[in-house]
């Protein structure tokens, strides 16, 4: 035995070298299938209808507001002369930001072999898609002349005119739409084996057919798995740069202009960190509720939540560092306009928004330094919501405060939203939750095949000790019977 090893070996019972098993309660493969599939097969619960009613009601509010906007023009918003980008752009950046966690979890964490991602990746990716849908609405309705929206696409036309390729607003069109397409492909490819599972379990003819089409003829053959794994890896590699590029490009919308408070080289990394920050917070909010409602506590464990909280702590601190750096650079640059822009943020007429942002984004996540707090589910639920409030206000601060007082004091004005602005924002949550509830009802909300792959039993060496295929010599294997009994109760 190595003497160096004995020196650092833990003296207590806790072995810090070994993580807790990712899936707790030692379920069998079949139990995991049951646990997840059941929720798409059972009778629709009344609570789901209730939630769906509220969400689709809000979605109706969105549709009415958008129709009202199209009929009357963007004069119904609170925009004024210096502030030409109001709620619409704030909401756009907010939703795109939220749409970052999904692909980060599924692509980057996949490439880094972070196995804990399997518990949350499916629903995080779905959340990403729905958030990007919400995001895409806002720049679309913001153009004012909605009937000319296709002018943003470069195609040969009778005007002999191309979009302005030098404009970051055009880069945005490409960045966000490519991100949306790759995300939807990635999500769907990941779904195929699970859809096939649902298909095979289906008892009704129609359900079999629909799922059969969606599963694209998946049989679980060795060759299917090999192609699937390869496709998944390639898509992960494709999606990874997109995670970083999308919000970088969104930040260019601001950074490439010359408005004090926008014209900053720190924007791309700062925006990406903020996006991951808010995206993880949204995943937290949704997962904390979903794991409770659907009894997924053994798959999405407190350990998973803690890991996400650590990412929230990290990215929150990065964002906070960026806030402070901006102030330093404003002072250090010696540019009066820059200095005014930042003192106006903290102490001007919108100081309330600035301090909401600072406390929610920089201050509150710091509680996660304490292990007890970052493992407390109610506490992290509150923090996750506060983070998203803070991140919405961050975009408000950047967009509105920078615009309302720029170079020309004679053009200064105060921006306040109208009821249309506020109801449209509310309505976008309606769209988001409507889609998410439909997802929870009809799709396997956890990547069943992937979760099975991280069970200890999937390890090829799991049965090595005896060599006869019998479960021996493994504490997880030994407690198998009891644990599956517990699982049945939760069902």
């Amino acid at each position: 035995m190595n003497t160096a090893n004995t020196d650092i070996a833990p003296t207590s019972d806790v072995d810090y070298h070994v993580d807790d098993p990712l899936v707790q309660g030692n379920p069998t493969f079949h139990e995991i299938t049951e646990l997840v599939s059941y929720h798409t097969e059972k009778k629709t619960p009344l609570a789901w209808w209730g939630a769906f009613g509220i969400a689709s009601g809000l979605l109706m509010v969105l549709l009415v507001m958008v129709a009202y906007l199209f009929w009357n023009g963007i004069g119904v918003w609170g925009l004024n002369n210096p502030v030409g980008w109001g709620f619409a752009i704030v909401n756009f950046v907010f939703w795109v930001g939220i749409g970052h966690a999904g692909t980060l979890i599924s692509a980057i964490l996949f490439l880094f072999r972070q196995k804990w991602r399997t518990a949350i990746n499916r629903s995080a990716e779905a959340m990403t898609l729905f958030a990007v849908m919400c995001a895409l609405i806002f720049p679309t309705i913001h153009v004012g002349r909605i009937w000319a929206i296709y002018w943003t696409l470069p195609y040969p036309n009778q005007m002999a005119m191309w979009p302005q390729f030098k404009s970051p607003l055009l880069w945005d069109v490409f960045a966000v739409s490519v991100y949306f397409m790759v995300s939807i492909m990635f999500w769907y490819v990941g779904l195929i084996p699970d859809l096939a599972t649902l298909r095979d379990r289906a008892t009704r003819k129609l359900r079999q057919k629909v799922l059969g089409v969606m599963a694209m003829g998946w049989t679980g053959a060795n060759r299917h798995w090999r192609n699937y794994e390869k496709a998944y890896l390639l898509l992960a590699a494709l999606a990874t740069p997109l995670v970083l590029s999308v919000h970088s490009v969104v930040s260019f919308d601001f950074a490439v202009s010359i408005v004090p408070g926008w014209h900053t080289t720190i924007f791309p990394p700062y925006f990406v960190a903020g996006a991951i920050f808010s995206g993880f917070a949204m995943v937290m909010t949704l997962m904390i509720v979903a794991r409770k409602v659907f009894g997924l506590q053994n798959i999405i464990t407190v350990n998973h939540l803690e890991k996400m909280n650590l990412i929230i702590l990290l990215t929150g601190s990065m964002v906070g560092f960026a806030y402070i750096t901006e102030f330093f650079i404003a002072w250090y640059s010696g540019v009066l306009y820059e200095q005014y822009a930042f003192s106006n943020r903290a102490f001007g007429p919108y100081a309330w928004a600035y301090w909401i942002m600072m406390s929610c984004n920089l201050l509150f996540p710091q509680f996660f330094w304490f292990k007890r707090l970052r493992r407390s589910v109610p506490f992290m639920f509150v923090i996750s919501i506060l983070v998203n409030v803070g991140m919405w206000f961050e975009r408000f601060v950047i967009v509105v405060i920078s615009l309302h007082r720029d170079y020309l004091p004679s053009a200064w004005d105060y921006y306040s939203p109208t009821f249309v602005d506020i109801l449209t924002l509310l309505g976008s949550f309606g769209l988001f939750f409507t889609m998410f509830l439909l997802f929870l009802r009809f799709f396997p909300m956890v990547a069943v095949a992937e979760v099975k792959a991280i069970l200890p039993q999937s390890d090829p060496h799991f049965y090595d000790h005896s060599g006869d295929g019998q479960l021996v010599d493994h504490d997880l294997a030994v407690s198998g019977g009891e644990a599956s009994g517990e699982r049945a109760e939760i069902n």
């Binding site: 009778q158 005007m159 002999a160 095979d200 057919k209």
Partner: protein, 215 residues
């Protein structure tokens, strides 16, 4: 477990691939042909309240365009003539003609003849006739052979590309000021050199920036 789909479902991927490719190509061709001004706008020929024939007046009788469209050299808008202009001649010629009832009625009552506009530009595109006429863009260049039209119709697309094609290469289209209203004008062989030197000497620089027309 029995098969869910019949064997022929195996053709579905191939069929859907071909259908989506074919559908895409079809949609492209369809849009390319039908959704352009050369299909939607060219050939627009509304019925007019009086069957005035440009072929007769401008073609056979040889009236100059500016006899009726008097302001074309001096204002942005090229005017439609007043009934008075018709009556200059028709007070004495064809005074009993049936097709001219509308003109005489307008003359008697003082109500304008409600001519239908043929060449329309969107309200956000400003066009000036005088600047074009005075720099050597002939009537024919944009309106076609009006002297051969029984009833006026739109000959060109009036699309932005069509405007820009000329604004980017005016030497291809200019003609001497004396030939402005000539119909069926044929450019001399050395017209390019002539026009290029004119462009230089007269400093003809048609703008291609947005606010040249959209203001």
């Amino acid at each position: 477990m029995p098969q869910i789909f019949p064997r022929r479902a195996n053709y579905l991927p191939a069929i859907s691939l071909i259908a989506s490719l074919g559908g895409g190509v079809f949609a492209l061709v369809f849009l390319w042909y039908y959704f352009v001004p050369s299909y939607t706008d060219v050939g627009y020929m509304p019925d007019q309240p009086v069957d005035y024939s440009h072929r007769l007046h401008a073609g056979q009788l040889g009236l100059d365009c500016r006899y009726c469209h008097t302001n074309v050299e001096s204002t942005a808008h090229s005017n439609i003539p007043a009934t008075q202009t018709c009556m200059n001649c028709h007070a004495q010629i064809k005074t009993e003609s049936l097709p001219l009832v509308g003109v005489r009625e307008s003359w008697a009552t003082g109500n304008s003849i409600e001519w239908v506009r043929v060449h329309k530009l969107p309200d956000y595109a400003h066009f000036s006739h005088s600047i074009h006429i005075n720099n050597g863009v002939g009537c024919e260049t944009c309106h076609g052979r009006v002297d051969q039209m029984e009833q006026v119709r739109q000959e060109k697309t009036l699309s932005m590309r069509w405007c820009l094609d000329c604004h980017r290469a005016p030497e291809q289209h200019l003609r001497p000021i004396s030939e402005i209203t000539t119909m069926g004008y044929e450019q001399p062989i050395d017209f390019l050199e002539r026009n290029l030197s004119r462009v230089r000497e007269e400093n003809i620089r048609p703008p291609t920036n947005c606010s040249a027309c959209h203001y």
